[in-house]
Structures are given as structure tokens and as C-alpha cells.
Symmetry: C3
Subunit: 194 residues, 3 copies
């Protein structure tokens, strides 16, 4: 660092003092950039743990995932327990509402328990979804994949449910476990469990 | 801080060098204030996505919302799917437990499936709530509104369920969707899905 | 930025100007360290609100809690409503799946409603868990406690369910409420509700 060499009167800083100050400012700038980068930690990231496999509860993770991706977020959805069914290529089109055990449904339990009633209530909701031009589960999965959402299937649950890696949509990542899902959550700005 | 006062004939900083250093410090101060403001981002904010409409699952979002508001948090609860019923002026007083499909209830499924059993188990819990002086759902909503909690009803679900804007408590905001709920989550310090 | 009045040759900075700059740098360093400490806020902390008491839904909070603890996180699990049963020493070994109201189960509702069917579907899952060498609920609780996970039982729910403090595992903290759970969430980096 070359400096000007004019003599200075009493009390004026020396070149050494000045350079010490410059070094402290250099360090402050580096450190501040590091803090800024920790605070910003771009790209922004969301992780959703999807544990449910009913038709109604398939929507919150998929709608939130595709919305976040549309806003430029990095999104990972880790599917575990019943949530696996959302990623199951055959079952995804056929997720059901329960006609019993859901007091929000307009069907008494004793009727709901009759054979076939899960299908009836499910068709009622599917019709409502179609009539209101709400996307289907498969459409939301495809939109999400197009937008870069990463879908992961919990390997422990795959084993527990005797599923095969080939049962899932092609883009689904298998072989992942809770440790990896947790580490994704650590890096995320938003973590949700459905 | 006292510094050495020996005149230094050689290498003392010029006015230009000194001013350059001052500019760097000015910038550091501004940038640090910006980082500090990002880190603090007052007021603190919590967003809850409420998806359930049973009597038991109405409590977690309402208790957490009113607690957070009491601690000075800005709170938004976005109600979607069955969660809408909590905000439905007629239904809010009449949320039900299920007597079947909930193995934590002390009623066998075959009894629970009898007509009227949802009402019986619901009354059991309502009595427990009253006996223990726990606030009712309506009381918690009113307390939360008084404390400034913002309740939002998902417009897509309103359409899906054929509800009307007037069905909800006066203070409920309608016409909001997942994109707006997501943006509120982005600004929040705590995000939960019930 | 030109200041101050000591004449110096060619506008070189005076001792006063130099010391003012040093003070500003001192302050910047202190403030930056404070921001850094806010951003880092070690130790990292996770809070889980556990509201469910079925066999399947006992796993997500316990697996995430023990995983986070293994990664060095400070973990608190606040159990409320049906989530209390996970901490109940007698009930923890006997959590059930529902054979009705869960359309993901391969049992029609009309069969599921028969007496004893909750036990049948539960045994099916318990066998799958054992066959796949997945830890039991009790094993996960013990592992978590060994790793320093703090389990809390919501006092309001204890009263509501007429439980006694002695009903829970020894290490469970009772007498805690929503306000304390909320404050733990405020300090946490990851908050989840199961």
C-alpha cells in the first residue's frame, strides 16, 4: 500500500496508525459481508414434512410448495408415513376423504361406515374440486416439479409400507431419511409439518 | 484512545486517503444498521395455517395466537379447508369431536358409529372444558380479535365449500389466497400449520 | 468530508480527526459482534408441539426430536391434547392406529367399526415396525431423553383429561403452559406442530 509522504505537524497520524485503521476497516467489511450473507442466506428455502395421505390434506403441502416455488423459493417436501401416498403414482389419483371420523363431513358415522361411503364422500369433494376449477393432486405435483420443487420419499416408511422405489413419480427422490430432512430444515427459512 | 504523537515526516496519510477511509466507515455504519434492522425485524410476527375443524384441533391455533398476541406479536391465522369452520359464526359454537376414528377417545368404534355419538363425545369434552374453566372457542376468537389477531379465510376453500362471506365473524378477512398467506409467512419469525 | 480546524500541510488529517475515526471503528466492531451473536444465537434450538396420540403420529415428533438432538440441537417437545398420551407411562406402549376414519388403511370402515379392529390394525403396524427394526415409541422416548430432549406436558390438558403428574415418565416436566411453550418457540430456530 503506497502512501503519500508529506511531513505532518504534531499529533497527526503516522502511516502505521493509518494502515492499522485501514486493516480494521478491511476486516469489518469482510465480516459484515459474511453476516449479511448469513442473514440473507439466498436462495430462500422452505421445507415441508408431509405426513398425511387423505385427499383434503394432500392440498396444503402441494399448494404451499408450488406457491413458494413461484415466489422463487427453493422447496423440498419430505413425505413420510401416509404422506407417501401423495407421491405414489397409482394412489395419487385416488386419494380419499374419510366418510367417518371426520365430523366436518355432512354424513353421519353410521351411514359413513357403510361399504363404499368413502368413495361417495370422496367423489363429492372431487366434483367440488372440478366444479371450482381447482387443480387436481396430480396437476399440482406436475406444476410443482416443473417449478423445481424437490419431492422426497422417506426410506424408512417405504420399507415399513413395503413400497418399491418404482411406485413413485419419476422425479421423486428415494433413499432419504430423517437426518437428511432435518438438515434441509436447518438451512430453511420456513419449516412446516402437515 | 491516546495515540502516539511523534511527528512522522514520512508516509503520513493525505486528506484524500483520510476521506476515503471516512467514506468506507460511513458505508459500514449504514450497512450495519440495515443488517441490524433485518435481524431485529420488529414487530415480531407469527403466522398459523389452520386446516382442522374439530373441537380439539380448534384449540391449538387459537391458544397459540392469543398467547403470541399477548406477548406483543403480530399474529395472522390463515384458515383453510376444515379450519374455516372455526371462523364460521354458526359453526364455531358447535365444533365436534369425532366419536370414531379417534382411538384416543374412550368409546369403541362400533358404539361411536351409532347415530348421535359424535354429539355425546363432544358434550363430554364440552363439559370437561367448562368444568376446568377453559375458554370456549368463541371466547378465544373474541379475545384474539381484541388483541389484534388477524383471522383470514381462504377464498379457494370458501368457494369449494359454498360458503358466503357473511357466514364468518365480522372481523374475518376474506378474499385471501395461498400467495398472500405465503408472503405473510415469509415475513414471520414463527410459522406453524395445524 | 472536511472537518475541523487544525491546519495541516496539504489537508492531512489532524490527531482529533483520526481519533474520531478510531472511535467510530471501535463502535462498529462492538456492534458487529453483537449482530453476529444475534445471528448465530447458539446453541441451535428446535421446539415441537405434539398434539396427536395415535401410533403413527407419535413417530414424527419423536424421530425429529432425537435426530435434532443427535445434531447438537437443544430440543423441547411440548405435548398437548392427545399428544399427552405419548408421555403417559402406561399408554405410551399401547398407542393405537384407528381402523376407521383413516382411508389410507386397507380395512373398509364397516369392518373397521367392528369391536377390536383398532387392535388388529394396530398390531399389523406394530408387526411392520418390529419386522423393519424400527424403534418403538418407548425406545424413541428413552433415546431422546438420553440425548437431552426436554419433554413437557401441557398442564391445561393434564387437568382437562384428569391425568396425574405421576402418570408420566419421570423426566417429563409438568406444570407448563402455552405461554412458556410460546417463549421457547420465540428462541427456537425451528418450530413445528404435529
Amino acid at each position: 500500500m503506497s502512501t503519500d509522504t508529506q511531513p505532518t505537524p504534531d499529533g497527526a497520524p503516522s502511516a502505521e496508525e493509518f494502515e492499522a485503521l485501514q486493516s480494521r476497516i478491511d476486516e469489518l467489511e469482510d465480516e459484515l459481508a459474511a453476516v449479511r450473507s448469513d442473514v440473507d442466506d439466498d436462495p430462500q428455502k422452505m421445507v415441508i414434512i408431509a405426513t398425511k395421505g387423505t385427499l383434503d390434506m394432500a392440498y396444503p403441502p402441494l399448494i404451499l410448495a408450488s406457491t413458494a416455488a413461484a415466489f422463487g423459493y427453493d422447496v423440498t417436501v419430505f413425505h413420510t408415513f401416509w404422506g407417501l401416498e401423495i407421491l405414489h403414482e397409482e394412489k395419487a389419483d385416488d386419494l380419499k376423504l374419510s366418510s367417518v371420523g371426520n365430523p366436518n363431513m355432512p354424513v353421519p358415522n353410521v351411514v359413513g361406515a357403510l361399504p363404499g361411503m368413502d368413495r361417495v364422500t370422496t367423489r363429492m369433494m372431487e366434483k367440488q374440486i372440478a366444479d371450482n376449477e381447482v387443480a387436481t393432486v396430480r396437476e399440482l405435483i406436475e406444476t410443482s416439479i416443473d417449478q423445481g420443487v424437490e419431492f422426497q420419499a422417506c426410506q424408512m416408511t417405504i420399507d415399513l409400507m413395503d413400497y418399491d422405489e418404482d411406485d413413485f413419480f419419476d422425479e421423486v427422490e428415494t433413499g432419504v431419511g430423517a437426518a437428511s430432512a432435518f438438515q434441509e430444515m436447518v438451512e430453511a427459512d420456513i419449516q412446516l409439518l402437515v
